[in-house]
């Protein structure tokens, strides 16, 4: 078990409204197994990005627990946590502000070696190898982020993440701002890299089609809850929840979903097993 979430909640104070909270994540149970890529699907506002950041420990959960390899990071001091953070890395959506504009690519990548005992030559070699694996020329090291296209920057962001040797790589809408062709290339690249670097992906997206190729399992999120979870093929063949069905037909016909998309859940609504690991909310 790589990551296990139990009853995780995260509420934010609504801006400008007193005593009102936004229940970004409202009671999520989720398991990510080693080597089993999970696609987390939902539209904007469903809480999927917040969930990713909770796993990254960029936010602290208000309730519930998140276990990483059986260990609850919330119980660690920040000093104890810091070296562990390497194990979960992230690639964000916007390639234009996910790289520090003042850092050359060499500086961006070299920062991943901080706290590691590696000679300069070994670092240089690892950086060059990594750039090669993500399909970039080693000349890239001397250049700055603004000199690259969006797709190339995402490759750099992936290279940076993988240099940390993470167990889990969270891809938060990582291809959503790229055009279809480039996005497909990045997905292929991620597939290739997985075998080489033994990393598991958590792919957060609003687009079901994107995760189909990469993920073995898909969880659909709405209003801070997971409403359906199944193996990718099962979900695509037999979506049980009406929201999933709508999301799916929207994804296949390139249009936006048109059913009522915000659901209300009570304390009692739980995920019911429909067999073969296919869960749906009731």
């Amino acid at each position: 078990m790589l990551v296990e979430l139990r009853g995780v909640k995260k509420h934010f104070a609504a801006v400008g409204a007193q005593n009102k909270v936004i229940k970004a994540v409202d009671g999520v149970d989720l398991v990510i197994k080693q080597g089993e890529n999970l696609g987390l699907v939902g539209e904007s506002g469903s809480g999927k990005t917040t969930l990713g950041r909770l796993i990254l420990k960029l936010y602290d959960a208000d309730a519930g627990s998140i276990l990483f390899e059986g260990q609850d990071w919330a119980k660690l001091s920040s000093r104890e946590l810091r070296p562990l953070r390497r194990k979960v890395q992230v690639v964000f959506q916007d390639p234009y502000n996910s790289l520090d504009p003042r850092f050359s690519i060499r500086a961006v990548l070299a920062e991943t070696f901080l706290g590691q005992k590696l000679t300069k030559a070994a670092q240089e070699q690892r950086m060059k190898d990594m750039l090669k694996s993500v399909g970039l020329d080693e000349q890239a090291l001397n250049r700055f982020p603004h000199e690259f296209s969006g797709g190339e920057r995402q490759r750099i962001a992936i290279a940076r993440s993988l240099l940390m040797n993470p167990k889990l790589l969270i891809l938060d809408e990582a291809v959503s701002s790229l055009d279809v062709l480039i996005a497909a290339q990045i997905i292929e690249l991620l597939k290739d890299l997985q075998a080489q670097y033994q990393v598991t992906y958590l792919f957060i997206t609003h687009n079901l089609r994107v995760v189909k190729k990469l993920c073995q399992k898909i969880a659909v999120m709405n209003s801070g809850r997971i409403i359906e979870m199944a193996k990718t093929d099962d979900l695509f063949q037999q979506p049980l929840h009406p929201y999933t069905q709508e999301l799916l037909s929207a994804a296949l016909s390139y249009r936006s979903p048109k059913v009522e998309t915000v659901y209300q859940f009570g304390e009692k609504s739980v995920l019911i097993d429909h067999g073969n690991g296919h869960f749906v909310v009731k």
Binding site: R85, F92, S98, R102, E111
Partner: protein, 322 residues
């Protein structure tokens, strides 16, 4: 880069030329001249005044006057001050240094206080300390410089801990270099503080805003997720990006270094350039005005250029080639 700087320097010439011509016309076309007040003085004979008017070519057409001033300029002759009766360069020279001292003190104070304050406020966003800083900043921003100066002077006169005006104590000439430094420091304290108060309020808010914007960027989240020490996240990633826009402001401040603050210099009886310029305009001491304006214009352009060059050095995205 070098070509860019060279090109920018070349543009200074036409700008200054147009500026000086406009100033000259404006000074001459407004009613009255320096000698009008002297004409009312029964102790000065009309012949003397006539002689001076001839000497300074004030009876010639406007453009002729301007071009003779301009040709003298190329020999580094800035003309005579009517009021002081000595070369303009000598009048300005001493005052320039005084204004520079005041402005530099105020600049160091402003930036030295505002930048750390802005960073602190951003890192403690919406906490009570941040709110306190922001509240005080609003008050500081709303206080006119002359009012702050008067308040400070009032307190100084009541407590007697700081001198009330001027730049030196009476026994300044007998002091050694260290005593001289502290003497000037004591004198500059009140005007510099008065000049800085509202700038600190403004600059602090800009710094806080920049810092907050940068702290929300994804590369900051990534840096945190990498497990970098918080200090490195803030000082190596956030601060370096947040300080960029301020460099432009620094360029303008450099330009303002020598133009001074006339009103404040008068209130604190600081013997600076600002007060000099004001009285020069009022008494229509043309060549003194021309030289002062030329100097300010020159410094403004150089200051902007300096800011642009500095920004290019700091930010790899900015290149001026082509």
């Amino acid at each position: 880069m070098l070509r860019y700087i060279l090109r920018r320097l070349l543009t200074i010439l036409p700008i200054l030329l147009v500026m000086s011509l406009l100033t000259f016309i404006l000074m001459q076309k407004t009613s009255g001249s320096f000698y009008d007040t002297l004409k009312l003085n029964p102790q000065i004979s009309p012949e003397t005044i006539e002689r001076y008017i001839k000497l300074y070519q004030l009876d010639k057409p406007l453009l002729v006057q301007y071009f003779s001033w301009l040709t003298n300029l190329f020999h580094f002759e800035f003309g005579y001050s009517f009021f002081y009766n000595i070369p303009v360069a000598d009048v300005i020279g001493g005052r320039l240094w005084n204004t520079f001292v005041l402005s530099l003190a105020s600049l160091i104070l402003t930036w030295g206080v505002a930048i750390p304050l802005g960073i602190y406020a951003a890192l403690h966003r919406n906490k009570i300390t941040d709110r306190l800083i922001q509240f005080t900043s609003y008050i500081a921003l709303a206080s006119p410089t002359f009012f702050v100066a008067m308040l400070l002077l009032y307190f100084a006169s009541q407590s007697g801990i700081l001198p009330l005006g001027g730049m030196h104590s009476a026994n300044y000439d007998g002091m050694n270099i260290i005593e001289k430094f502290f003497d000037v420091l004591r004198h500059v304290a009140i005007p510099a503080t008065a000049l800085s108060i509202s700038s600190i309020g403004a600059l602090q808010r800009i710094m806080r805003g920049n810092m907050l914007e940068v702290l929300g960027q994804q590369y900051i989240l990534t840096a945190r997720a990498k497990g970098l020490p918080e200090n490195r996240v803030i000082y190596s990633h956030a601060l370096r990006n947040a300080i960029n826009p301020l460099v432009t402001i620094l360029g303008y401040e450099f330009a303002g270094l020598l133009s001074g603050a006339a009103l404040l210099e008068i209130i604190c009886s600081w013997p600076g350039l600002g007060a000099l310029m004001l009285t020069a305009v009022q008494s229509k001491d043309i060549y003194l005005v021309m030289a002062s304006f030329l100097l300010s214009g020159f410094l403004l352009i150089i200051g902007n250029l300096l800011a642009d060059v500095l920004l290019a050095r700091l930010d790899p995205r900015i290149r001026y080639e082509k």
